[in-house]
Symmetry: C2
Subunit: 358 residues, 2 copies
């Protein structure tokens, strides 16, 4: 604010020297951001803080972002509405939370059997992803940007082994959203239970399985102490969080601060993928060391194939909803097909080669 | 420069209002950058241009980066010396090019059987990577930052199939650097040939195989027209380019421009990994469509194992050179081991699961 008050004091006498746009460029802007997460939520919350810090430092203090966690605004799933209405300038959340309101927001977080983080970032930034996402958010007077990736989410903690489709029939599992719908198609009984009650529910057999995120965030909930099996992932291969910005708030910023904000969000989101790799690797090493009997399993081929077919069916239904849904589903399918052909001869081949070494 | 001259004109009369640090903060800084690449070299050159554009836009023009390609400075492999001496403020190149001068620079590009791009970025930013790299460059009055990742490089174009170690004996292959030394240990005859002559050399049988980068950059050299086999990678799983900065040039920048420059480099380097994914996927689709008979192969297990053992031996020799080399080699090995255990249950498991689908 120091420089701003200097400019205010000088405005009259220096009107002929400083153009008004130069004066505006020195103004301090404060944006209020509401995040879905509680205070000090690891990785997700680190990402908003790091974005805000980068924006402040790069702008020499001219761009301030004040973060309210869910303990303040009390509306973890009200971010979309609050940013749309201008109660907050920005939000940090996940696009698929809004699918009940605006069905096409579903597609911009992660889709079952979809792209990996590298593939999906390539679709966003070098394919049609950003344009399609903007088309979905534009009518709601908001801009949406990638907000940080968790990497692939694990398939969940199970207290019995899944050897065939039969083992899934009637299985009670905490798994929300689109993946829950896919699981329901193959016989699972998906339930939603508050995070604080999940451990007890799994321990007492109220549920048979629980999907959360990955080692780093799962570790804090303690499932490794009671579950015998940890299944590999298929349903959220690259969960991307989201920064939302009210369009009026955005348009008030001068061009250099828009650019600073945009780059700060982009960097913070890439960083979250890398931070997730680091935290997951450490958490997984600790779980392996403390619980050496825990078994990692991949669902058998017939289960995976049945889930894939169920997913394709639900995706086709979603695509038939409207023209925009169709264009998004087609764009993702086409991009995935091209990108995966290359991922298979590059990263997959390499990881498999190294796994064979003694 | 506009604002700067305004400030110069006002310096005397406004000395009591503007502190000197505020005046300096509005100064325009121009940094000269020399890159190893020729003008308009794709992906690598796009990365320096994008970094410079982000820095300029975020600083509202106060930070200008002028890029000289190799056609101007005529010293593609002189970047280290020129930035060290202050002839250029910045460079864009690859750390392993300097191993003849400063052997420990070898470790900061990519190592055979080493980390993937996500794993290596995690080592740089959340492990000890940045500190260790700085320890290597500090005595040369430079800062070094990640400068963009190609993703995994392919194993090369071969005009005969490799079925066993015997097939490698005396094989003439263009493969430079540390990987060439590893190949030499298992019987290959590594040669270095100027890029412009590679196509003809492979076509005429002067060489039997050639390693270049990956589909996007290989496509331009035309190897797909003459080679029958394209081998998957092992020797550079995550080739990271490098931004170099002369320390005196860095220290002249005010804190906000240092931060802008650092974030611009970080974002441009992440972006290059994603751009490489996009360009490689497109190039690979085009190669597959135009040359459907081209065969993708992975080296057989005994070849991979022999190369891995040769690599381990050379790495141990390198580690014995000095204490810093030992600490770098140990840090990378420990980080890789932890990170890969997690990559195996996450990305690798997922990619293999999907590859089984019909």
């Amino acid at each position: 604010m120091k420089l701003r008050s200097v400019f205010s004091a000088l405005t009259l006498t220096l009107a002929t020297v400083f153009t008004s746009s130069q004066a505006v460029a020195e103004e301090t802007f404060t944006l209020r951001l509401a995040e879905t997460w509680g205070p000090n939520f690891p990785i997700f919350g680190d990402t908003t803080k790091s974005m805000a810090r980068m924006a402040e430092e790069m702008s020499n203090g001219r761009l301030q972002i004040r973060i309210d966690s869910s303990n303040r605004h009390k509306a973890p799933f009200g971010i979309f509405d609050m940013v749309k209405a201008g109660q907050y300038d920005m939000g940090h959340s996940a696009s698929y939370y809004w699918k009940g309101k605006v069905p096409n927001t579903l597609f911009f977080t992660s889709m079952p059997f979809g792209m990996t983080a590298q593939e999906q970032y390539a679709w966003f930034y070098y394919g049609d992803g950003m344009d399609l996402m903007q088309e979905v958010y534009e009518p709601h007077n908001m801009l949406s940007f990638p907000g940080g990736n968790t990497g692939i989410q694990m398939g969940g903690w199970f207290n019995k082994e899944i050897n065939s489709l039969d083992d899934l029939q009637g299985l009670k599992m905490r798994i929300p959203g689109f993946a829950g719908e896919v699981f329901a198609e193959v016989g699972v009984n998906p339930t939603n239970i508050a995070p604080g009650e999940l451990y007890t529910a799994l321990e007492r057999g109220t549920i048979d399985a629980v999907e959360w995120v990955g080692p780093a965030l799962d570790l804090r909930l303690g499932f490794q102490q009671i579950a015998d099996y940890y299944y590999t992932g298929w349903h959220e291969p690259a969960t991307e969080l989201q920064f939302l910005i009210n369009k009026d708030s955005w348009e008030k910023l001068p061009a250099d601060l828009q650019q600073i904000l945009q780059i700060a969000m982009r960097t913070a989101s890439y960083d979250m993928l890398i931070m997730s790799m680091h935290e997951n690797a450490n958490a997984w090493a600790s779980i392996q060391s403390d619980f050496p009997d825990l078994q990692v399993r991949t669902f058998p081929d017939d289960v995976i194939q049945a889930m894939y077919d169920a997913n394709s069916k639900l995706l086709q239904e979603a695509a038939e909803r409207d023209d925009l849904a169709r264009r998004i589903v087609d764009s993702q399918a086409e991009y995935l097909s091209n990108a995966r052909a290359y991922t298979n001869i590059s990263d997959r081949a390499y990881l498999n080669t190294m796994a064979e070494l003694e």
